[in-house]
Amino acid sequence: MQTVKTLFLASASLCICSLSLQAEVKTYDFEDPKGVNNVSFLLDAPLESISGNAKGVSGIVTFDSTNPKAVSGTITIEAASLTATNNKLQEHMLGKGWLDAASYPEISFVAKSVSKVEELKDGFKAQLTGDFTLKGVAKELTVPVTFTYLPRMLGKRSNGAMEGDLLVLRSTFTINRSDYGIKPGQNLDKVAEEVELRLAIAGAAPDA
C-alpha cells in the first residue's frame, strides 16, 4: 500500500512539474499596433551616413524562459515600410535597382538554433542562427541577440486591455549588400557595401 502511495505521489509531482515547465513555453506575437517595434539600418556614404527605419514588423516567436535554447520562430519586415528622411533616397532604395520592394515585399529571419547562451538579470544573451532573407536571397547568419523577458507587463503596456508577458528582442548585426544581390560591386563610392541592422522589437503573449 505504501509503495502504491509513493508511486502515486511521485507521478503526481512529475505531472505538476511538467505542467509548470509547459507553462513557461509561450508564443509571442510581434505584430505591434503601437508602432514601437523597429528595425533601423545604417550605412556609410560620402558627406553623411544613410539611415532609416522600418516599422512594418510582424512574426511569431516561441520562447521558453527556462530553456532559451528552444527558441524558434520567424520575424518578418515589410520592405515597403522602410523609411528614409529623404523622399528621393527612399524612392531609390525601394525601387527596382536596389531593394525592389514591389517584387520582394518581405525581409525575414527564420530562427534555427541558439548557442552561447548567457544568463542576464532579466533575460538571456545568445547567438542566434537562422536564415536571413533579403531581396529573395536567403543566407544563414549567426547574430548576437538579447532576450529580455518581462513577465506580467502586457497589462501595463495595453492599459489593462490584456494580461500576459512581453519578450523584447534586441540585435545588431552587419550584412553585405552584395551577398543579397543589391548592386554587387556597384556604387561603392556612393553607398557602402556593409549595412548595419539594429533590431529592437517586443512581442506579446496574452494569457489564454
Binding site: 514601437v36 523609411t83 529623404n86 523622399n87 533616397l89 503596456r157 523584447v168 529592437a200
Partner: protein, 94 residues
C-alpha cells in the same frame, strides 16, 4: 556707348549684385532657420522616442523640410556667378 546705355548697364549690374546678395543671404537664413543641417536635405525629421515599458528606442517622423548643404551650395554658386557676371558686364560697358 550713350549715357542711357551706360545707365542701363549700371542698373543691370546693380540688379545682379542685389540678386547675388539676396540669394546668399536668403539661403543662409533659411538654412539656419531649418536647423543648420550639415548634410543632404531632409523631407522628414526623426524624433527619437523611448517606449516606457520595454525601453525600446524608436523614431517617429515629423513631416518637415530641412534644407541641406546641396541647396546651400547651389544658392552660393548662383550668387557668386551673378556677382562675378556683374563685374564682367561693367568692364564691357566701360
Amino acid at each position: 556707348m550713350t549715357d542711357l546705355q551706360r545707365i542701363r548697364s549700371s542698373l543691370f549690374c546693380l540688379i545682379l549684385r542685389i540678386l547675388a546678395l539676396v540669394l546668399i543671404l536668403a539661403s543662409t537664413v533659411f538654412w539656419i532657420y531649418t536647423g543648420k543641417h550639415v548634410g543632404f536635405s531632409k523631407d522628414r525629421v526623426e524624433i527619437p522616442q523611448v517606449d516606457p515599458i520595454t525601453q525600446i528606442e524608436y523614431v517617429d517622423y515629423e513631416e518637415r523640410f530641412v534644407l541641406g548643404v546641396e541647396y546651400l551650395a547651389l544658392a552660393y554658386g548662383l550668387g557668386v556667378t551673378s556677382f562675378g557676371l556683374s563685374f564682367v558686364l561693367r568692364q564691357k560697358a566701360k
